[in-house]
Subunit: 264 residues, 2 copies
């Protein structure tokens, strides 16, 4: 179905296209931010949520986009980001997953996602997920050599009423090469409480982007989860981008990946 055809349908809305920043970046790294935005198109009537919930971690990953931009800038890497709330469609979930258009998120019901007609759900997929997937695929295809996929997320310090001690998660699916290389060198780069596959792991279905775009093609990949209370201010976001940038480069060098502009 074309986008125009979808927009004429039941459940249609005006959807901003995914953002592609620094498309000609020299780095093999492609930074991905699926939960960059809390924007909900007007046609969806705020999904029945109040303003506070729509600005909370339920709707997006606060701070993640700023960190992703900082990494993109530092590494001269292209950045692909969704510009729509994950409550409309979670671009880090496949269409078949119930959580792709969640009826509930943590402790919040999402009224606007309940009892969707098939055409409404189809519109979410066609207007949010498909353009995002196509953008990311085209960026990967345009890479000169093998790309490296790095996805940037943030998580809430308190979930379901339980405080989380983990500060940074290094996540992977079946291909742990880059995660392993980074975890081996944690102590060189940060004093934060860093853990493998926490607070989520592949069993929670959070590695879709990696599984879809990196694992089958054999591309190095990692998903980074940052506790969002650590990246509230521009200064904190920038410092986190610096920490992660150096650490990603460090991991890639262990794997023998050539970094442009490195030859001395």
């Amino acid at each position: 179905m074309t986008q125009a055809a979808v927009q004429a349908q039941e459940g249609a809305f005006t959807a901003p296209q995914p953002l592609v920043v620094n498309r000609d970046g020299a780095s093999p790294v492609i930074v991905v931010c699926e939960h960059a935005s809390c924007f909900v198109p007007a046609e969806l009537n705020s999904l029945g949520l109040d303003a506070e919930t729509l600005k909370s971690h339920v709707a997006w990953d606060p701070g993640a986009m700023k960190v992703a931009e900082g990494i993109s800038e530092r590494l001269d890497a292209v950045l692909v980001a969704s510009q729509i709330s994950r409550l409309v469609y979670d671009c880090n979930r496949p269409p078949a997953a119930a959580g792709a258009v969640p009826e509930r998120s943590e402790i919040f019901d999402i009224p606007g996602n309940r009892n969707l007609a098939p055409a409404q759900r189809e519109a979410r997929i066609a207007l949010v997920y498909e353009p995002f997937r196509a953008s990311l695929a085209s960026v990967i295809a345009a890479a000169e050599g093998p790309a490296v996929i790095v996805t940037i997320h943030s998580f809430t310090p308190v979930y379901d009423g339980v405080a989380r001690d983990v500060e940074l998660g290094i996540l992977h699916d079946s291909d742990a090469r880059l995660a392993d290389a980074m975890l081996m060198n944690t102590h060189w780069h940060t004093s934060l409480d860093v853990r493998r596959n926490e607070p989520y792991g592949p069993e929670d279905g959070v590695t879709h982007t990696l599984r879809e775009n990196a694992v089958p093609a054999g591309l190095y990949n990692v998903m980074i989860e940052i506790r969002n209370d650590l990246i509230k201010t521009p200064r904190e976001q920038d410092a986190m981008a610096a920490t992660l940038s150096g650490w990603i480069i460090s991991g890639l060098r262990e794997l023998g990946v050539a970094i442009p502009g490195e030859e001395v």
Copy 2:
């Protein structure tokens, strides 16, 4: 002259030996902290200074030792540190330099260093500088392969009444290889205001340790100057150690230096 002979002389004092931490560290890096301590032996009567001055940057590099320890720990590197104030003898100056036993430091006169008899000056050299030089030389000689010399210093945010904007200085003498490799990658590692050979440079005589121990032997080397208001708390010191550790490793990898435990 033996140390026992010196101690029997005019101007003698009881001097703590240089500290060597993690002597069996696996890293090629040797961390050096010449201005780690503000200790003035009792026999020297506080050099005629008040308690406040004796705790100020005039007497040592506040915070530098904590950062040096953090780097030593993270990199598994040996650390060599003086345990005596630079006002007694500045271990980063050759005996021939007037500033080795300074009569004046910034805006402060050092009464206890004025009009020293030759034997008094000789005692400072024999009891402070010579043991420091010998410790560092023995650590370098014991290294399995070519060592890498990294000296850690801090500087005052306001000097002679002028505020300094520079936050981190990457300093070198005639061999800029490691400094160049680090400066090339500044943007990956930190958002601080980083400058080459600021707030001091080789023309100020501050690269003595590098010039004495690294340059003639062809060892990679760098001197790092940290503005001391950035490393006041344990948390800040630890974060700075993490930033510098990752950045040093990053620079060494550019130069093709093998890092133990890195093979994946």
